[in-house]
Symmetry: C2
Subunit: 312 residues, 2 copies
């Protein structure tokens, strides 16, 4: 018999178990909802990972709820739904929880005054979610081509009415945006500093890892010497919204991800089951390294192993 | 009588004293060499701070040695000597210790193989000092206009022969350079990660503070999750070179700077006297804040106070 109750002593719990044909059935049976990270689990860049569609179809046919929880802030929920469709997967906006959405929801929940502005170091998704939530975002892609000439008497103006800076992944990061964010956070009284997430690297393309949002966030921390409020994984902020729509017992949810310090930690923080897949940024040697302190319940090579093991 | 020996108990030492007409003479008399930070002490951007020239002239006329120790890596020693001249100060290259020079010297001292390359996230000064020291620097300003298009199948190539990445202040910071540095540090075996310095902000122009080298360094830490070797202040690495040319007793040297966590800490780490001037990034309230743990021996508003107090 497999399952949470008999997963052993604390010591034994610190060893992730591989998914096998012996434990797959009881594992899947004990889960009502699967929460999937996207980059490194469902796709890499714009390429679906091997046999993801079939696996999701089988899980849905078994009555499992499928939810996507991604730290990628470059797209809004609406843009994600379009990407899923383009890749041949039918997913509704309501099933997608992305960190751009989380940033906008954080402001909403905390009653951010709609007459204040939000400066964005990040891409289109954050601006779109801010707009949907009724906030005025500035910066973002538009500031990606702005240069700074450090001439004598040069004075960098910033909007004193910016009440929050949201930092996410931004492949048009530049000195202009860094100074803008720096001045807002340092000089505008009470200005919030919100990070969508702090992933060190990510599979922005299928072939390679690239500096992730953690890079841009660290840069802003470097100049402001302040720490941000993180709304993406491993923070469980998104879980509140998720549970409003999918009111399951968290112990019957399983977070499936490729990162230990975001996905697996998020799952554990939220009291969910956890499955690490090795199709993204984490290798088996990283998982098993004695310095690693984050242990998923299960691990497997890739998501479609679930399908293969169920079929065995 | 003023002086180090009678500066009191440990508790009393933790309170910086203002320079006054009562203590100025004995303080100046007890110092053989003054080490000056530049930005915020001598100049802001391209503007000399009030009466700096007269103050340095008087100190020189009293037989004091004058040395400049700056974390700014945008210029080489040669370029600094030219800047001093342009501002009407005659300073020899040998009297200037800048963090671009320190980065090149670090590689020299550690017998970095000259057939390996050095990738630079930074400006001209680092490349020039590397060249003078016989090393092949790549990157720097030249990569400032390179864009990354995160298309499917896009593969970012980096030179496997890069054996060190040097990160300093770079107002052309971009995603291309961040990925280049990231790949070298993560994928080239044994690749060194050297930071010229970690100043959070700096007076790159006279009117304002801007994100400093600490911003670019933090960004690279963010993606690589590695910590750099810091060669600028507060590391005392530059002191070894300084003492070769100016073999004074460090207790007869006084570090004069505007930053607590670089200048004053450097002075204290090296066993020097310390004087904080409030003409740069540190305010009196920051100095006196209970959370501040770095206490200079003396403080004063600006460098020329020394002159005014001597003349009283």
């Amino acid at each position: 018999m497999e399952g949470r109750a008999e997963s052993g002593t604390d010591d034994e719990k610190n060893v992730a178990r591989p998914l096998t044909s012996d434990n797959i059935r009881s594992f899947v049976d004990s889960v009502d909802a699967f929460l999937f990270d996207c980059d490194g689990v469902i796709w890499k860049g714009n390429k679906l990972i091997d046999r993801v569609t079939e696996t999701l179809n089988v899980l849905r046919s078994m009555g499992k709820n499928i939810i996507f929880v991604t730290n990628n802030s470059t797209k809004s929920r609406k843009q994600y739904a379009k990407k899923f469709l383009r890749l041949g997967l039918s997913v509704s906006e309501e099933e997608i929880f992305c960190s751009s959405f989380a940033a906008a929801m954080f402001l909403k929940v905390n009653e951010f005054p709609p007459d204040k502005k939000v400066y964005v170091v990040g891409e289109e998704g954050i601006l779109e979610e801010l707009e949907i939530a009724g906030f005025k975002g500035i910066g973002g892609p538009e500031d990606g081509k702005k240069l700074v000439d450090l001439k004598p008497n040069c004075y960098f103006e910033h909007d004193k009415n910016v009440g929050a800076v949201v930092v996410g992944f931004d492949h048009y990061i530049n000195f202009y945006k860094l100074q803008y964010a720096n001045l807002c956070i340092r000089e505008n009284p009470g200005c919030l500093f919100i990070a969508t997430n702090r992933d060190a690297v990510g599979h922005m393309t299928d072939l390679q890892e690239w500096p992730g949002s953690g890079t841009m966030v660290a840069a802003v921390c470097g100049s402001t010497q302040k720490e941000p409020i993180v709304v993406g994984k491993p923070s469980t902020f998104m879980m509140d919204f998720l549970l409003k729509r999918f009111p399951f017992d968290t112990s019957k949810m399983c977070m499936v991800g490729d990162r230990l310090d975001t996905d697996i930690l998020f799952g554990k923080n939220a009291g969910c089951r956890t499955l690490l897949v090795l199709s993204g940024v984490t290798s088996l040697s990283t998982l098993e390294d004695p310095s690693n302190e984050i242990h998923p319940e299960y691990y497997s090579g890739k998501l479609s192993d679930v399908l293969d093991l169920l079929e065995e």
